[in-house]
């Protein structure tokens, strides 16, 4: 293909990729935008002012969503890092069974688990609570974290650890000064994307939170179904902000582009 044709195809692709974001930007600053007007009657900060005011609940919801995603990620690191090490560095009987258990939550739709999970949370007294929602989010997040860490540990050379230990380092010192620096880039990316997996959950939060845990997607949906396009658009743009920040962080750290991002990614 000629270079200018490629650029043309690229332009079409770029247009397609940003297209759904354009009306969101437009609506978020629109005041009165009736059919068939191509442009809003007035440009105003009204929707943003409301979205950022305490009575809209958006900022509180932003905080709740952040708290849930951050805690879920932290727990997933604590639990998934050791498991990833086992899967990445050892060949053992039952390994494929463990991998299957990890892949299942990615392939089985949330709706298949959510009813039973809700029943369990009810019995544990965790339905309708933030800890309950965090535990539920671990179902998609923990496998993701574990599988990415397994790929990271598969490239890790344990000989460095042996050397450190033979030179008298304690296990903790070895982990902190030898293992951690080696796995840190992979761990960072796994953590950032684990955060996003939790950040994007809708059904699990709706079901386990029972309407009492209002994360941003739930709030977004209630404004959308109320037909408030302007406020919905402002919240939607706030909602994609962490993803943008994470992308900026990763783009600066990683030059290998897609490769590191896509390891065991969720669609």
């Amino acid at each position: 293909m000629r270079a200018d044709l490629r650029t043309l195809a690229g332009l079409a692709l770029a247009g397609f990729l940003v297209l759904p974001l354009i009306p969101l930007v437009g609506w978020s600053v629109a005041q009165g935008w009736r059919f068939p007007d191509l442009l809003p009657d007035r440009i105003s900060a009204q929707a943003w002012t409301f979205a950022l005011s305490p009575q809209s609940g958006v900022l509180a919801s932003f905080a709740t969503t952040t708290l849930i995603a951050a805690t879920t990620t932290l727990l997933a690191i604590l639990i998934g890092l050791p498991a990833g090490r086992a899967l990445g560095m050892y060949r053992f009987r039952g390994r494929s069974l463990v991998l299957l258990l990890l892949l299942a939550p990615a392939l089985l739709p949330g709706i298949a688990v959510v009813f039973g999970l809700h029943g369990m949370m009810l019995r544990l007294g965790l339905a309708g609570t933030i800890p309950g929602v965090i535990l539920a989010h671990l179902v998609p997040v923990l496998p993701y974290m574990t599988l990415v860490m397994a790929a990271v540990f598969a490239r890790f050379d344990p000989a460095f650890e042996d050397q450190a230990r033979s030179l008298g380092a304690t296990p903790w010192q070895t982990f902190r000064t030898v293992t951690l620096p080696a796995i840190l880039p992979g761990l960072m990316i796994a953590a950032l994307f684990a955060f996003l997996v939790s950040w994007s959950q809708y059904l699990l939060t709706l079901s386990i939170g029972g309407g009492r845990v209002q994360t941003l997607p739930l709030l977004l949906f209630s404004f959308a179904s109320a037909g408030r396009n302007d406020i919905t658009a402002a919240i939607a743009l706030l909602y994609i902000l962490p993803g943008l920040l994470i992308l900026a962080v990763i783009a600066r750290r990683i030059t290998g582009r897609g490769a590191a991002l896509t390891e065991r990614l969720h669609p």
Partner: protein, 287 residues
């Protein structure tokens, strides 16, 4: 400490948490689908919930719709992703920006994309306004119904938009790992560009493409929030139908919701088997 104990210690927390949450959740759903709910006084398991959903017309329509949405979205997204990956492998002005946009799209939650598609393609959306400005339509009702439509066009549009970058990035990563050598050899032996692609590159990309497509299919088949926003009132996508049955005030419909969830899970299990096979092939073939 032996390797066995060490392994057990490393794996135990993850297995406990995942087994405790995921398998128990799945198991409880299964029990309830057989109408086994001691708390409600139901202690004789039976298959009546399955009979009920299979004989009601709504379930099969919804199942067909969900399979249609997942199949169409996956095929379109995979084809376009292959073309996109081949494009992005080459150098041309603006490639960096497009690579950035592909990755950006990956971070945007489905629900945001769904709302964007709604505002673009609804009968009073951006495209309807453009059609009006071009003199093609006079009222919103004359614009074709592309969102909240019975055939799921809006839903498919969203999945193509959202999953194309996902598959593209996986293909690009595969291409990066494979390098250009295989194709160069084929070309130097006299293969045309098309032949080198068709007989050398494509077979090597196939396992990755299949694995990614399986993930996309599973997601498009089972996702709830996308058809909730972009789906029609009737027929509903299967996950929406199941959720609705579970929140019905009539407690009798709960086992039916569970039975639907089990059917969805069974299709997921079939996909898991396919995915495992695609990965196994990738392990022996491409590397």
């Amino acid at each position: 400490m032996t390797d066995r104990t060490r392994l057990a210690l490393l794996l135990a927390p993850a297995l406990l948490v995942l087994g405790g949450l995921f398998l128990t959740g799945l198991g409880l759903t299964l029990l309830r689908s057989f109408r086994y709910m001691p708390a409600l006084g139901l202690t004789d398991p039976d298959l009546s919930a399955y009979v009920a959903i299979l004989t009601a017309p709504g379930f099969l329509t919804s199942l067909t719709l969900s399979l249609w949405i997942a199949t169409t979205s996956t095929l379109i997204a995979a084809t376009l992703a292959l073309a996109t990956a081949l494009l992005l492998r080459q150098t041309f002005p603006g490639r960096a920006i497009i690579s950035f946009l592909v990755q950006l799209n990956l971070t945007i939650p489905h629900i945001v994309g769904a709302i964007g598609i709604l505002y673009l393609f609804s009968q009073s959306g951006s495209f309807a306004r453009l059609a009006h400005a071009a003199g093609l339509i006079a009222t919103p009702a004359q614009f074709p119904i592309l969102t909240q439509d019975p055939t799921g066009i809006g839903i498919i549009l969203l999945y193509v938009w959202k999953e194309l970058p996902f598959i593209t990035l996986i293909l690009l990563a595969n291409m990066q790992a494979l390098g250009d050598d295989h194709e160069s050899v084929a070309r130097s032996l006299g293969a045309s560009r098309w032949q080198a692609f068709r007989h050398v590159l494509l077979p090597m990309l196939m396992p990755g493409l299949l694995a990614a497509s399986t993930l996309v299919f599973a997601f498009a088949f089972g996702a709830y929030e996308v058809p909730l926003i972009l789906g029609a009132h009737a027929p509903k996508a299967l996950p929406v139908l199941a959720w609705q049955a579970s929140t019905d005030t009539d407690l009798a419909t709960r086992p039916e919701a569970m039975a639907m969830a089990v059917v969805i899970a069974l299709i997921g299990v079939a996909l898991l088997a396919l995915y495992a096979r695609a990965l196994a092939k990738g392990g022996s073939g491409a590397r």
